[in-house]
């Protein structure tokens, strides 16, 4: 017992410079991420500024009720999860695919060009994206209605009033915007793979397809899983800009564009009740946390090495 304690003490002493270096980071984490967490109490309070946050009355789960009371509760939850699931699956597949393709291009200049071109949308604000989409889909002056559809002999479509097209539009916009970033991450992982594997494979007469399947993909699986876990943790959040700005807040589209974030925003815009917004945020993060733990557990089950923790 005492020997072990002695060991621990020795270890701490040995690594003390490292611990010391950790201090600023820890302090940052504590001040920025943990201290504000006392705000969680707001979710359970009937906020009154005259009494202050601590002094306000507790009101139990009252603030959470509005999330589940309406008929929209099912709709927004379904939309949020399905969209995010689609984004994760499609985003990952296309991201990995593009990264592999980029890796195969031998002309350095061309690679740089494609990469920047792909990354550019990622850097554009959602508000601008929404106007780019608008210039395509506007009823009066949109490129689709004015040029493409007439050329194909199809009647103009009132895009912002027809919910059925929006799952495709939103998935496409999200892909177009996000692909550059995920592709860069995967490309970095691919470049990190030791070239000797490929040389050996080529000597054995492996085709390009075989190399990709047997070398590239298995070796970048950890990164893919990590990226996936991170997105699963945020599956209850949605890109507010994408779901609010891009459909131009059009009421007719709510059946396919309303997600938890936009619902909360719209519900509380007029009420301005910070207790209820805190409740919504807490609900999202708790569910996200549980999902991360569960998916990590699932990953652990069938491949321990790839689990995050």
């Amino acid at each position: 017992m005492s020997v072990r304690l002695e060991n621990v003490r020795k270890k701490i002493w040995k690594f003390s410079p490292l611990y010391f270096m950790m201090l600023p980071g820890l302090a940052y984490l504590l001040i920025n991420n943990y201290l504000p967490m006392y705000g969680i109490t707001i979710a359970f309070k009937d906020i009154n500024f005259a009494k202050g946050i601590w002094g306000s009355d507790w009101n139990g789960m009252q603030n959470f009720k509005f999330l589940f009371s309406s008929s929209d509760a099912y709709l927004i939850t379904r939309n949020t999860i399905l969209y995010n699931a689609a984004f994760i699956v499609i985003g990952m597949t296309v991201g990995v695919g593009t990264a592999i393709l980029l890796n195969e291009i031998k002309n350095k200049l061309a690679v740089k060009f494609y990469q920047s071109a792909l990354l550019l949308p990622y850097l554009i604000s959602m508000v601008l994206v929404s106007y780019l989409v608008y210039s395509l889909l506007s009823v009066n002056v949109g490129f689709m209605n004015k040029t493409i559809l007439p050329a194909l002999g199809i009647d103009p479509i009132s895009w912002y009033n027809e919910p059925k097209y929006w799952p495709f539009i939103l998935v496409f916009v999200n892909l177009w915007k996000g692909i550059g970033f995920s592709c860069v991450v995967f490309l970095a992982a691919i470049i990190g793979i030791n070239k000797e594997y490929y040389e050996a494979a080529m000597l054995d007469g492996a085709s390009k397809w075989q190399q990709i399947r047997k070398i590239t993909i298995p070796l970048i699986t950890p990164i893919v899983i990590m990226m996936m876990m991170l997105s699963i943790g945020r599956i209850f959040y949605s890109d507010f800009g994408l779901f609010y700005q891009v459909p131009m807040n059009s009421g007719a589209l709510f059946s396919t564009t309303n997600v938890i974030d936009t619902y909360v925003f719209r519900a509380l815009m007029q009420l301005g009740d910070i207790g209820m917004s805190a409740a919504a945020g807490l609900y999202q993060s708790v569910v996200g946390f549980i999902l991360v733990i569960l998916s990590n557990y699932a990953v652990r089950k069938f491949s321990k090495d790839n689990a995050l923790f």
């Binding site: 009154n48 509005f66 608008y134 007719a252």
Partner: protein, 504 residues
């Protein structure tokens, strides 16, 4: 190591002390100087510092310190108060003021912009009755008692309405150039239905122009067309501003269904902007760029006097209905003293000056004479030479925001008798039977949140005619009921009954 940290912290504490000592020194010398200069004024000692926040709708004005100095010259002498102005961009207004409340930051006075009731419910403002009696004679004499009473929440006043148009009448504003081109007889426009012929004429003559536009960005065509008292939030209204104080669901009324049918008809005939439900452009900009002709608005004297709104000459016509005052019109801009205030009495004294002192009103509203404006004749002012809206150091153009704009000058191009007209208009307006009633949504906030979503989902498409009301309106009503509108209406009726009883 330990000693090093100790030394470091000592150094820090030392420097802090030094800094605070410096600043307090400054203060006292300041106070000394002022008391020297204003020997005659009776309130001696250090002036009380007040922080006054207000929203601005343009870029941050450059000359804030000059404005503060000009203000302080008056206020230190009169009430021994030093004012610190805190202009906050309107887009951050709610967030920033909420933050100031939750962190207990120094803030004495602020206006509530369309969220008076919420601010009261959340305890942001303090009761003013006693303070008004003690220090607020200027305010009580400037305001019609009925309007001040409209500020009562459960019998207590928490805010003072600014003096502006306290009533409105439904009307339409049209591009003057087009009105003249087609020789439109505006006297014939008595009701909203009369618009049809005008819109058709414009449609036929100007194919690229949308005849009728939404009232503002993100609003419907009918947004500003009110034949009912919305009783704070549209969920349960008083039709015809009376209805014997019986609250009904506006969206279920026959009248609403008729209006929607009209909108649908106009939309299908191309008389309404086709993008109306997703429009993101200010209607005035659409008019300016020849893409739109007219939009409905709540008209009042400032609008009816033929002005050039945003640089486009417009012709505004009021429909032949009486102008009506409702609580929301009065409580949309209310000055209140915040719970954070350490000196509520002084704050009230300053508020009183805002309502009664001509110089203070002019400094706050228009800035400094000779620098930000010059008097042209009488009470009409304009920019000094070489100054315009883009380079002026203080041009907020938001007189309605600062207490009593009736004390201030009017800008060149506006009717010099504007304030007299507004006063007469306010006095002549019919008062809604529920004037003074404010709905407190807290007991039904779960429902209100759900209903808020239903409203955004359906109201805009329906009221712009973008969807077929025969199919969609029943769904809208059904969803409202599912979200609990009946409960909200019952609660509102209950509060209204209590209010009526308390009034008698």
């Amino acid at each position: 190591m330990k000693t090093k940290i100790k030394m470091l912290s000592m150094l820090l504490i030392g420097s802090m002390l030094l800094l605070s000592a410096c600043s307090s020194n400054n203060n006292s010398s300041d106070a000394g100087a002022t008391s020297d200069s204003s020997e005659s004024s009776e309130p001696a000692g250090k002036p009380t510092e007040l922080t006054v926040a207000f929203p601005i709708f343009s870029a941050q004005p450059k000359d804030m310190t000059l404005i503060e100095d000009a203000l302080n010259k008056i206020t230190i002498e009169k009430i021994n108060v030093k004012v610190k102005l805190m202009p906050i961009s309107f887009s951050n207004w709610m967030q920033q003021t909420n933050l100031m409340f939750s962190s207990g930051e120094k803030l004495d006075l602020m206006p509530t912009i369309s969220n008076y009731n919420q601010a009261v419910v959340q305890g942001q403002l303090i009761p003013l009755d006693e303070l008004l009696e003690k220090h607020g004679q200027g305010i009580t004499s400037a305001l019609d008692p009925a309007f001040l009473d409209a500020a009562r929440v459960k019998g207590t006043i928490y805010g003072v309405p600014t003096l502006h148009e306290m009533a409105s009448v439904n009307g339409i504003t049209m591009k003057k150039e087009i009105v003249e081109k087609y020789q439109i007889d505006t006297s014939k426009l008595q009701t909203i239905e009369d618009l049809e012929d005008v819109l058709k004429t414009v449609k036929a003559g100007e194919p690229n122009m949308a005849p009728l536009l939404p009232s503002t960005i993100g609003a419907s065509i009918l947004n500003d067309y009110k034949t009912f008292d919305e009783l704070s939030n549209f969920l349960g209204v008083l039709p015809s501003f009376d209805n014997d104080l019986k609250v009904v669901n506006h969206f279920e009324t026959e009248e609403y269904a008729e209006q929607l049918k009209l909108m649908r008809k106009w939309y299908e005939e191309g008389l309404i902007l086709q993008d109306a439900s997703t429009n993101q452009t200010n209607p005035l900009d659409l008019v300016k760029s020849n893409r739109g002709f007219a939009f409905l608005l709540s008209a009042h004297p400032a609008a009816l006097s033929e002005g050039a709104a945003g640089g486009v000459p417009m012709k505004t016509v009021a429909f032949s209905q009486p102008a009506v005052s409702t609580t929301s019109q009065i409580t949309n801009t209310m000055w209140g003293i915040t719970v954070n205030s350490k000196a509520p009495e002084k704050a009230m004294e300053f508020l009183n000056l805002m309502y009664s002192d001509k110089d203070i009103a002019n400094v706050l509203i228009w800035g400094i004479e000779g620098k930000h404006y010059v008097v042209q004749s009488g009470n009409v002012i304009d920019f000094p030479e070489g100054v315009d809206a883009s380079n002026s150091g203080y041009y907020l153009n938001a007189g309605w925001l600062f207490g009593n704009q009736f004390l201030s000058y009017v800008w060149n191009g506006t009717d010099p008798d504007l304030w007299e007209k507004v006063k007469a208009f306010n006095a002549s307006a019919t008062k809604s039977k529920a004037l003074g009633f404010t709905f407190d949504p807290t007991p039904v906030k779960t429902e209100a949140a759900a209903i808020g979503n239903v409203i955004t989902q359906y109201r805009l498409p329906l009221e712009t005619g973008s969807v077929d009301p025969d199919k969609v309106l029943p769904k809208f009503i059904e969803n409202l009921k599912a979200a609990g509108i009946d409960k909200v209406i019952a609660e509102k009726q209950k509060q209204l009954d209590e209010w009526t009883k308390a009034k008698q």
